[in-house]
């Protein structure tokens, strides 16, 4: 317990003490979080985008934990040591502000902002190729080389998929090849939906009249889940698919062959592929 004799010295020691407590607590907790929590952060590593997001989430979490801890340590320290002890003096000493603290506080916040925003922006514009976030009709971040186009058509209450480079066949299940960039064009026939490929870390609202592009490159074969993430009416909760698949390239070719054969008779009746999907008679553009 510090003496109350010299207010200045007492103040300094409180500050130092809080700082060291914070340093110890944050010094222990933050590495623990970094080591044992961040590997399990969503969305995992099933795609380049998921991996990218997970890295960002990890960095943000490691950044945020010491900040929250700082607040908690400060508040608890105040609770214990700055409480009214009934020592006869009714009020606290007057302090109306502290220029140094204020300046450092603002600089600190600005530094956090100056790191978080450019870092996140660079990540989705650069290595993340959108980082799984939908980019609207004119994507800024595009992958190098060829992509496989797939159209995702939301309607109440299911998603349908089209493969324009294979004659525009339509399927009820999403199957994409491994290690290749897939360009998903998300749109809706009716109300707003949101295409959320949970494991692949993709999210793109499906909006009637809009073409919403999102890129993904899956890193390993397996199943992933699809959810609708925008309230779309009665059976919004049932608008999901648990067995969408990422398959090796060869298997994908086999699968698409089968689908083409299945679709053969149907293709004549389907409207021609367009980035924006309207059933007749509404066409956009003309």
């Amino acid at each position: 317990m510090s003496s109350d004799g010299d207010p200045d010295r007492a103040e300094i020691s409180h500050g130092r003490r809080i700082f060291f407590i914070w340093l110890i607590v944050a010094g222990i907790v933050t590495p623990l979080v970094a080591l044992f929590v961040t590997p399990y952060l969503p969305p995992g590593d099933a795609s380049v985008q998921a991996n990218n997001q997970q890295g960002i989430n990890a960095i943000l979490l490691v950044l945020v934990v010491p900040i929250i801890l700082g607040c908690v340590v400060y508040v608890f320290y105040s609770f214990v040591l700055f409480r009214d002890r009934g020592d006869g003096r009714p009020d606290s000493p007057v302090l109306r502000g502290n220029r140094r603290v204020t300046v450092w506080w603002i600089i600190g916040t600005c530094l956090i902002v100056a790191f978080v925003v450019p870092y996140g922006t660079w990540q989705w514009m650069g290595p993340g190729v959108g980082s799984g976030s939908a980019q609207g009709p004119k994507p800024i971040a595009t992958p190098p080389g060829e992509t496989l186009e797939v159209q995702v058509i939301g309607q109440q209450w299911q998603f349908t998929y089209r493969y324009p480079s294979f004659g525009g066949i339509e399927t009820q299940e999403l199957v994409i090849p491994e290690d290749q960039y897939v360009e998903l064009h998300v749109t809706s026939l009716d109300v707003n939906h949101s295409f959320w490929a949970v494991g692949l870390a993709l999210k793109a609202d499906a909006v009637n009249g809009a073409d919403n592009v999102v890129f993904v490159s899956a890193t390993r074969a397996g199943e992933f889940k699809i959810r609708c993430a925008e309230l779309c009416g009665l059976w919004h909760g049932e608008m999901y698919q648990n067995d969408a698949r990422v398959v090796p390239e060869a298997e994908f070719q086999t699968w698409i062959q089968q689908q083409t054969e299945l679709n053969e008779g149907l293709l004549a009746y389907l409207p021609p592929y367009a980035h924006i999907y309207y059933p007749q008679p509404f066409y956009r553009g003309d």
């Binding site: 929250i68 700055f82 204020t102 603002i106 902002v113 939908a134 980019q135 609207g136 309230l231 909760g237």
Partner: protein, 842 residues
């Protein structure tokens, strides 16, 4: 009541009448209005089929609601004032409501800011309870992954009601309740600037909640509180109640905002400089900026939605020329300031409370003020962070990411002020202080998780998931609701004069704090692992955390029962008088007697020092409550006569802010025009280059400009205090205003095309209808000016200055005309712009 009794009674007894305005007559006329509107709607749309599954039609239901609300307001007595105004009479400010002290004054129109404050608090807590019960129903369903407690439509309606009622309640309750009650007391005023508007806002708010509750009888609301279109346009008739309710609440919030902003600007007591303004009042001021400017956007959005549903415009229907993004942009342009409407008053409350319980001057007062104003203004620049994955162009994403993150800087200043005030304080852990501390702890979690949401890559996973749900519950519930309880425990002893039971209050706090965190922390995990919002069923792997959250949520409810029990027990059953200043606070509101006298101050106090001078050696008392020792003069009813010089200021300031609100209202239509025009092809925007009849359009323009010129000439006379010819100029302006409205109605009726012919047709219909609605109001205002002037000229105007506290003289009329002149010019500008855009450019 015998005559002798009324003579001997010190306060005047109200006259017993057959018809009394109050909640009973309000409900009666609301019912009559609803039926009337319904019949009119059915008649107009006679050939239209009723919506599926109900016997309702959109138009009949909407008109029923509108007329019902009008009936409700008339039944409460709101019609008396405009009618007297139209007859040129000067109604007294205090309408026989100070003559009674019983509980019945809370159930009728009252212009006493304290009565309205209590109405808001009790009404708001009641609707808060309703919203909370909805949350319990939600969590009950989610106990099981394939819950069958509610069918999907019931479930979504409950979700929508929970969100809507809570958002409405929390935006109205703090400013309407604590703001209305406390701001005049804190700044040394007897009233707010516009007491009738303040009363009107409460009646609108309550009617909004009632309207949205009735949606359960007409098919429910399937959209959640955001009401996204096209789902909102295609939904069943229950959706109409959503749009009507949000339009009503938008009006209420705008009015609260204008009223309190002008109060703070114009009605501060002598010595209450900006540097001495209590921090809660600063937070109210910052919030009113957002309320007065953002809420009109919501009104316009609701209006467009209703038109889409009733007269088949296609504002939000993409295949026909509208856009879902139009709705999303308009909604979130209101919606994000709204989020801060739900946060800043909380900051104000805790910063007001912390100095009292740490016994120290507020650390960094200026920083906190800058922080609040900074948040208020920056909140208008961030709305598209709700649309990161929506499918609009992504070019502006870095900007919205940056602006969102930048808000953390002013927010952190508020935290710094709170932390600085704790520093070496003498903290007393009374219940309000506990809630304030919990606010800090909860809000830091809400704020920190906001970093993930503002980051474009992380947003891709967290958007639309339970992560978002958890995030905004930490800021709104962990933030504002905790601040609200801090305020209730802190100020209710002043408002009711009764103490709370401290032990039960502490139980309420600890159970709420633990149960709250236990409910919402797991939701972060659920969202990040892939559980979307607003689903009645979910992946069975999430069952444990969902059950955990549900049980914790029931504990929140149990905790609220402790509060209710404590409230009922201490306020009604076992009443213990509270001291006038139980917390030993320096706030001006604590210096007046408990219960607060009818007109707050017998004389207007002179403020001598700031409200947080704890421990300052030789600090002056906060105010001299009796600067002259002679109470201010009162009229025959015992109502003090206000300082008449203030009234013109108030009117002019109010008029300016109102004009700004109207500008933001029309900005929605201008935005709709350019947005739909730019994203649509010609065929969808305006196939065949349709347009209104050019002759009528030019006539509208002409009558507007002539009316403007004539009123301008009238204004010059008014400024020169020259009354000759004034009334003739005014009458011409009235005629021209009437002609404009008539021509616009003719234009709408005689359109050669359907409202559904494309984006252009929709904007034309919506914009013109909105102009007609606003112009009718403006014309009424103009008529009151002319009528008042006529009375003045004929000398029949009540000559007594301030009968009932309001200035009834030429100066008042001149100020009213001045305020009207601002609106008149703005409306003329809107009409000119409408001509250029709708009739020329198209």
């Amino acid at each position: 009541m015998s005559e002798t009794a009324s003579l001997t009674s010190p306060s005047r007894q109200p006259v017993r009448r057959f018809w009394r305005f109050g909640i009973g007559s309000g409900l009666l006329l609301a019912l009559v209005g609803f039926i009337l509107g319904h019949v009119i709607g059915r008649t107009i749309s006679g050939s239209w089929e009723p919506a599926d599954g109900t016997d309702q039609q959109d138009l009949a239901l909407v008109l029923g609601y509108v007329f019902g609300v009008i009936g409700w307001l008339c039944g409460l007595g709101f019609a008396r004032y405009p009618i007297r105004r139209l007859r040129g009479q000067e109604p007294g400010l205090f309408v026989d409501d100070h003559s009674e002290d019983g509980a019945s004054r809370f159930f009728r129109l009252s212009t006493d800011h304290k009565v309205v404050g209590i109405q808001y608090i009790v009404g708001g807590l009641t609707t808060f309870l309703i919203g909370g019960l909805n949350a319990m129903l939600i969590r009950y369903q989610l106990l099981s992954p394939n819950g069958t407690a509610w069918n999907p439509n019931e479930y979504l309606t409950i979700v929508s009601l929970h969100g809507s009622v809570m958002v409405m309640t929390m935006s109205a309750l703090i400013l309407g309740g604590f703001g209305n009650y406390l701001v005049p007391l804190m700044i040394g005023s007897r009233r707010t600037a516009f007491p009738r508007i303040q009363a009107l806002s409460f009646s609108l708010f309550i009617s909004a909640v009632l309207v949205i509750m009735t949606s359960v009888f007409v098919g429910g609301i399937p959209t959640g509180w955001t009401g996204y279109s096209p789902l909102g346009v295609e939904a069943r008739v229950g959706m109409d109640s959503y749009y009507v309710a949000f339009a009503l609440v938008a009006m209420a919030l705008t009015l609260v905002g204008i009223d309190l902003m002008v109060t703070i600007i114009s009605l501060r007591a002598p010595g209450m400089s900006w540097k001495r303004l209590p921090i809660f009042v600063w937070s109210v001021l910052a919030t009113t900026v957002m309320m007065a400017l953002a809420s009109p956007m919501l009104l316009a959005t609701g209006f467009m939605g209703l038109l889409d549903r009733t007269v088949d415009t296609v504002n939000f229907v993409a295949p026909l020329g509208g856009s879902a993004f139009l709705y999303e942009n308009l909604f979130w342009f209101f919606g994000h300031p709204e989020v801060y409407i739900l946060a800043i008053p909380g900051f104000g409350i805790i910063l007001e409370i912390i100095p009292v319980f740490t016994r120290r001057a507020l650390w960094g007062y200026g920083l906190a003020v800058v922080g609040m104003l900074g948040i208020a203004f920056m909140s208008f620049t961030v709305w598209q962070h709700h649309l990161f994955v929506s499918g609009i162009n992504s070019d502006l994403r870095p900007f919205y990411s940056l602006s969102t993150e930048l808000i953390s800087i002013p927010t952190s200043l508020i935290f710094l002020a709170a932390f600085g005030t704790l520093w070496k304080g003498k903290i007393r852990f009374s219940v309000p202080m506990l809630f304030s501390m919990a606010f800090l702890s909860n809000f830091i979690i809400g704020g920190a998780t906001g970093i993930f949401l503002s980051d474009v890559p992380s947003n891709a996973t967290t958007h639309g998931s339970y992560f978002v749900t958890a995030h905004f519950h930490f800021t709104m519930m962990g933030g504002l609701v905790f601040a609200m309880f801090a305020a209730v425990y802190y100020w209710l002893p002043k408002m009711t004069g009764l103490r709370f039971r401290e032990g039960a209050a502490k139980w309420h706090f600890w159970t709420l704090f633990v149960a709250f965190n236990s409910t919402f922390l797991p939701l972060f995990v659920l969202g990040a692992r892939g559980m979307p919002r607003r689903v009645p069923t979910y992946d069975p792997t999430f069952v444990f955390l969902n059950r955990w959250a549900s049980v914790s949520a029931f504990c929140i409810f149990a905790s609220m029962l402790i509060f209710i029990a404590n409230f009922v027990w201490s306020q009604f059953l076992k009443r213990e008088r509270a001291d006038a200043n139980p917390w030993d606070s320096r706030g001006l509101e604590w210096q007046v007697a408990t219960p607060v006298p009818a007109h707050n101050f017998s004389e207007i106090p002179v403020v001598l020092s700031g409200p947080y001078e704890y421990g300052v050696p030789g600090a002056e008392p906060v105010a001299n409550l009796t600067p002259t020792g002679i109470p201010d003069p009162v009229d025959e009813d015992g109502n003090p006569i206000e300082n008449p010089d203030r009234t013109p200021d108030v009117l002019i300031a109010g008029g300016r802010i109102f004009s700004l609100s109207v500008m933001f209202f029309f900005a929605a239509f201008v935005f709709a025009f350019f947005y739909l025009r730019s994203i649509n092809s010609n065929n969808l925007w305006n196939k065949g280059y349709l347009g209104p009849d050019q002759a009528i359009s030019q006539a509208i323009l002409g009558s507007t400009l002539v009316g403007l010129a004539f009123f301008g000439a009238a204004m010059r006379r008014i400024r020169k205090d020259d009354e000759r010819g004034w009334h003739r100029l005014g009458v011409v302006a009235v005629v021209m205003g009437g002609a404009t409205i008539l021509l616009q109605i003719i234009q709408l009726v005689s359109l050669g095309f359907e409202p559904s012919s494309g984006g252009y047709a929709s904007v034309l219909v919506g914009w013109t209808a909105a102009m007609i609605a606003v112009e009718v109001g403006a014309l009424y205002w103009l008529l009151t000016l002319v009528a008042g002037q006529a009375r003045l000229r004929h000398g029949t105007h009540s000559a007594t200055l301030g009968s009932g506290g309001m200035l009834s003289s030429r100066a008042h009329l001149a100020a009213s005309a001045q305020a009207y002149w601002g609106l008149n010019r703005l409306l003329a500008g809107v009409i000119v712009l409408a001509y250029v855009l709708l009739a020329v450019i198209r």
